[in-house]
Symmetry: C2
Subunit: 211 residues, 2 copies
Amino acid sequence: MRNMIDALQWRYATKVFDANKKLTAEQSDLLLEAVRLSPSSFGIQPWRVIVVTNPEIRERLRQAGYGQPQITDASHLIVFVTKKNLSDSDVDEFIALTANTRGVSASGLEGYGGMIKQSLSGKSEEKRIEWASRQAYVALGVLLAIAAHEGIDACPMEGFDPSAFDEILGLSEKGLTTCVVATVGFRSEADQTARFPKVRFSQEELIKKVE
Amino acid sequence: MRNMIDALQWRYATKVFDANKKLTAEQSDLLLEAVRLSPSSFGIQPWRVIVVTNPEIRERLRQAGYGQPQITDASHLIVFVTKKNLSDSDVDEFIALTANTRGVSASGLEGYGGMIKQSLSGKSEEKRIEWASRQAYVALGVLLAIAAHEGIDACPMEGFDPSAFDEILGLSEKGLTTCVVATVGFRSEADQTARFPKVRFSQEELIKKVE
């Protein structure tokens, strides 16, 4: 455990992972549990996560990711995928989970479910994917913060061919599509970018206070 | 400082804030610095943050946020806004910052800048806003994780009229538009939702391992 600002200063988008250093089961469990607990709009969690450790599949994904070595060399490859066609049945599933978790009747939550359905019905399929993607990016942010806190390196990645990822991971037939990727593990001593000063705009540039 | 899983279990989308409990300057500085340090694609940080503590403006924003009391009652209202028309000049500004931070010449980073420009030029204005929004959601995720770690309550909010927010905050003329909101502060004892069990899908439902 460490100061969170120090942790965020320490982290960087790791370009070269040490392929011999793997997360412990405890570490990967912690990261995945943090992802699971991440907040989402309405709490509906319109994303899923695929954790790829299989080397052959990672080699294929690397080809679909412009050859970037993190995809094969990091300890774990975490692929965030979103539901393509969020529908009333997803809402019903979520409402059933809520009723079950809270020990109340699903009928008592009809108003809440109806509100979510109404919100979804006003969006095109593309907009629903986009909205689901934003929720996945919240979970990505949580993952990156927690990884930093635990001294685990990570590289968030948007540079890949989503269609090829979908095909390799067999997502389309499940109504899913690839959203964003995080590779996690431990930096290699050979990663010179680890020593680059962090580039961030100043608070004056980024933050405006209306007092 | 606390275990991160406990922190994520402790947090919830706070519905009723204690209007009398304010963040200390140290706490708000920490949250805003965490937002500033949040990662973004290419590192370009295509978002800005407006921190509203002014009560009159918050009252107006509350009207534009379906009357939700968090908007006025939380200690701080943090509005994430994105650039509407990310262009080559934004890339140049970022490359100049990078060169300055790292003590190298901007011309040596021309290839990197060109790659970012090419990526942006392939996107419509709508797609650029969407891409910028995803980066803002990463920062939102980082904010929510760090707030939980520090024992600070928060409520992420999508339920507001973005055009009305843009107008009240004078964003359009600055080429900005409202993306997502986080209210932060401290839960009220009166918030019954604080005692509701957290609803999350199981790891079995959310996470698939390809080993």
